[in-house]
């Protein structure tokens, strides 16, 4: 079956291995050598949508000789392949997948991904143990409860209690570790988090139950302690699963856009290698139309460089021998040989990275809702338990009864519902965001997005589409446009690429490229030229575009006929509507751009945005954000360029575009996909709804305590009451969390 292109990545991302290249591709960086003479590689595959794709890929790869394993992971949209080492060229795997109709990209798992996987497994294992223990202890407890109401003998009860202890103690020691560790870490830095009251509650409940069992008492709380752990582990596991899913998608995005470079392995031989494998001093080739993936010094060649992604400035700068080029910029007109340099002090990337670190550090001061609740909650609970104990002693109860009551208060107030309240909402909301085309980087991103009241947009690549477009394609007769498009395919210049896209051309014409000028060819006895207006002798015609500050002109000559096409950055299709509705919803909106004033003013006028700033450096943007924050505003930054990365990190919340520079994506709370701006508005709506539900859930938890605590204080908290109250409140908050899914509008 042909792949349906329904994946969120669609066609928008360019292939990282340019087609038709003669050089070899070196994938050894991605291949892992296993024991037993096997090699393994993971590939992120674009366009896997259902089981049928899975089937085609697995059987298609398995049919190749010497392939020992091909297994698709549909959740992560990846395929793992193993083969007999040395027998298969890994490049063949990618070619085979493209024969099957899928674009695949080598995926470098890295350490972070492995750690996350390990954590998921640890949590699941703890959950399994806790659930097993809870079920078996509950079985014994129900027998004791019903026996207490009828005719159980004290010996039988003790036997059941000891049996419960036998199961509960090792199980709690194993399954409680995630909480104990986190509580100890928090206490070590003299802070309180939710895990502190949880750990104290569980440990006290277990100790008390053992002591009570020794004294042949009627009640033991083994079941409560384990049930608490089970519910909380469910919450943790959900949270972790959400994080893993968004990370998998983000990892695939990175692999799809994996930066590769063409490296000289000898003065004449070229190899395509991943950037990660480059060393300073390596010599690389940058062709016109390619994005430069490294910082370096030009050793040969002359070209113009588009730095718009880095600085936001749309006017190209020239580069020649000895000049410095930066990662993320676009080589426009000529081929360059570049020596890779170390990112020393003073390079642009270095400067940006430094600002980014500082900004990220500042943001870690953000306190999550759950942790804020814990800070209030823990002292309150412990004070209540203490007051209950002192109260009972004051009223003449024995020390033993008073302590039992105090511990019962601790157990029943243990934040079972609180532990689920926030993660459950996060999971449902992140699923909703995923469907709206927004990928979360961090769980607390939802909380941060919900608090926003001011939105700052970058212009180039964010409000506008990342790729420039021909605006006046209708000026050409259809057959001339087709010819121009076919001719444009012969060039790698971005302006030519825009013409080819506009014409929908597929078959290139055999043409000669004049570096820095354009392309020309003979077609049916007529000379065709496409390139600079001067190259096509169309200078006079191009004059009309001088009025438009953003447009670049590209001319097409068909014999004596002259046409001039205007290529410019176009606003995203729904930008005007989305900005309009955001303004209506009461958001303050500004444009911060590194571009020139006329270009920014034009975009601001079209969108109806009154406040705009042009020519801003990354530092200016941060200053503007700080100024707004000092006025008490909560700022959302939406940007894509390298120059936006520090401001994305500095803002209260941030969104970045899927086509954005790596650094910008890493700094943002969430990434949105597609050519529309609508996901920005959708993200804000979903986040606000999620925050509302989180608050509701926390309120439920408080209300539950308001009922349960008096019962415990007055000494009626039997293990049966505790079990019912705990599971009841947990189910309530989970069901409420499901409402974070937006209603279907059909």
């Amino acid at each position: 079956m042909p792949p349906l292109n329904l994946s969120p990545f669609g066609e928008r991302l360019k292939t990282s291995w340019p087609a038709g290249m003669a050089e070899t591709r070196d994938l050894s960086h991605f291949v892992h050598h296993l024991d037993g003479g096997l090699a393994r590689m993971e590939l992120a595959v674009d366009g896997i949508v259902c089981g049928a794709c899975m089937r085609v890929i697995e059987s298609g790869l398995a049919a190749m000789p010497d392939i020992t394993l091909a297994r698709v992971n549909l959740t992560d949209r990846r395929v793992a392949v193993e083969w007999r080492d040395g027998k298969v060229d890994p490049v063949r795997l990618i070619d085979r997948l493209s024969e099957l109709g899928y674009r695949a990209y080598p995926y470098d798992a890295g350490r972070a991904a492995t750690d996350a996987e390990q954590e998921t497994r640890t949590l699941l294992r703890c959950l399994g143990v806790a659930a097993f223990a809870t079920m078996n202890i509950m079985l014994l407890s129900v027998a004791v409860w019903s026996g207490n109401a009828s005719d159980i003998s004290p010996e039988q009860r003790d036997f059941f209690h000891w049996l419960s202890a036998l199961i509960a103690l090792p199980a709690a020691a194993y399954a409680g570790r995630p909480f104990f560790h986190s509580a100890i870490r928090a206490l070590a830095v003299r802070r309180l988090n939710m895990d502190v009251p949880i750990s104290i509650g569980v440990l006290l409940a277990l100790c008390m139950s053992v002591v009570e069992t020794l004294h042949h008492a009627t009640h033991a709380y083994f079941d409560s302690a384990l049930m608490l752990l089970t519910f909380l582990l469910v919450g943790r596991t959900l949270e972790q699963a959400m994080r893993r899913r968004t990370r998998a998608v983000a990892g695939n995005l990175a692999a799809l856009r994996a930066e590769t470079v063409t490296k000289f392995v000898s003065p004449t031989d070229l190899t395509v290698v991943p950037v990660a494998s480059l060393r300073p001093g390596d010599l690389v080739l940058v062709r016109p139309g390619e994005r430069i993936a490294i910082d370096g010094v030009v050793t040969e060649g002359r070209s113009e460089i588009d730095q718009s992604l880095v600085t936001g400035e749309t006017l190209p700068v020239s580069a020649s021998k000895g000049g410095v080029v930066y990662a993320g910029t676009l080589n426009l007109s000529g081929a360059l040989r570049v020596t890779v340099s170390v990112a020393e002090h003073g390079t642009l990337l270095d400067e940006v990275t430094r600002m980014l670190d500082r900004a990220l550090e500042a943001r870690t001061h953000y306190v999550r809702v759950a942790d804020r609740a814990a800070r209030l909650y823990a002292p309150l609970v412990h004070a209540t338990a203490l007051a209950a104990m002192l109260g009972w002693i004051a009223f003449g109860a024995s020390w033993h009864d008073a302590i039992i009551t105090a511990i019962a208060v601790l157990i029943i107030t243990c934040p079972c519902a609180l532990g689920l309240a926030v993660p459950a909402v996060q999971v449902v909301a992140s699923g909703a965001l995923f469907r709206a085309g927004v990928l979360l980087n961090s769980g607390e991103g939802i909380e941060r997005l919900a608090g926003v009241d001011t939105i700052l947009f970058d212009k180039t690549g964010t409000l506008t589409l990342p790729e420039p477009e021909v605006v006046n394609a209708a000026d050409l007769p259809a057959d001339r446009l087709t010819l121009a498009g076919r001719l444009a395919l012969a060039s790698r210049h971005p302006l030519a690429a825009a013409v080819a896209r506009a014409a929908g051309a597929k078959v290139p014409l055999a043409a000669i490229e004049e570096p820095g000028q354009g392309v020309r060819c003979e077609h049916d006895g007529v000379e065709l030229r496409l390139g600079r207006p001067s190259f096509c002798d169309a200078d006079r015609n191009a004059k009309i575009f001088d009025a438009d500050p953003e447009a670049s002109a590209i001319a097409f000559a068909y014999g004596a006929e002259r046409y001039v096409l205007a290529v410019r950055q176009r606003l995203r299709g729904d930008a005007v509507d989305v900005i309009g509705s955001l303004k209506q919803d009461g958001f303050a909106i500004e444009i911060l751009s590194g571009d020139r004033a006329p270009a920014v003013a034009h975009a601001a006028r079209t969108l109806g945005v009154e406040h705009w700033h042009a020519g801003m450096t990354p530092a200016d943007k941060i200053a503007r954000i700080a100024a707004l924050q000092s006025q008490g505003r909560n700022v959302l930054m939406v940007g894509d360029g390298l120059n936006d990365a520090p401001s994305l990190a500095a803002a209260d919340a941030s969104l970045s575009v899927a086509t954005a520079a790596h650094l910008a994506q890493a700094a943002a709370d969430a990434v949105f996909l597609g050519e529309q701006l609508a996901p920005v508005a959708a993200a804000l709506v979903i986040a606000r709804r999620a925050r509302q539900l989180m608050r509701q859930n926390l309120l439920f938890a408080v209300a539950y305590n308001a009922v349960a605590v008096p019962i415990a204080i007055f000494g009626f908290a039997s293990p049966l009451v505790a079990a019912l109250a705990m599971s009841g409140s947990s189910i309530l908050v989970t069901v409420n969390a499901l409402r974070a899914k937006p209603r279907e509008r059909r």
């Binding site: 259902c50 089981g51 899975m54 089937r55 085609v56 697995e58 059987s59 298609g60 398995a62 049919a63 091909a70 297994r71 698709v72 992971n73 549909l74 959740t75 992560d76 099957l100 996987e117 497994r121 699941l124 294992r125 399994g128 143990v129 097993f132 079920m135 078996n136 079985l139 039988q156 036997f159 049996l163 199961i167």
Partner: protein, 57 residues
């Protein structure tokens, strides 16, 4: 109540068996791709697919 002598170990044994099965399924990676597993359940193993033989597993 002598029945407890074998009922209790039996109950615990069954519980441990379940736990063991869960840990084993976890270890063999059966929770790594829940979406894919749903599709694999409805795929025919022996139906020929264009371009090659289906691989088992």
């Amino acid at each position: 109540m002598e029945v407890l002598i074998y009922l209790v170990p039996l109950a615990l044994g069954l519980g441990l068996l379940g736990l063991g099965a869960f840990l084993w399924s976890l270890k063999t990676g059966q929770y790594d791709d829940l979406e894919g597993a749903a599709w694999r359940a409805v795929m025919d193993d022996d139906a020929p697919v264009e371009g090659g033989k289906a691989k088992e597993g």
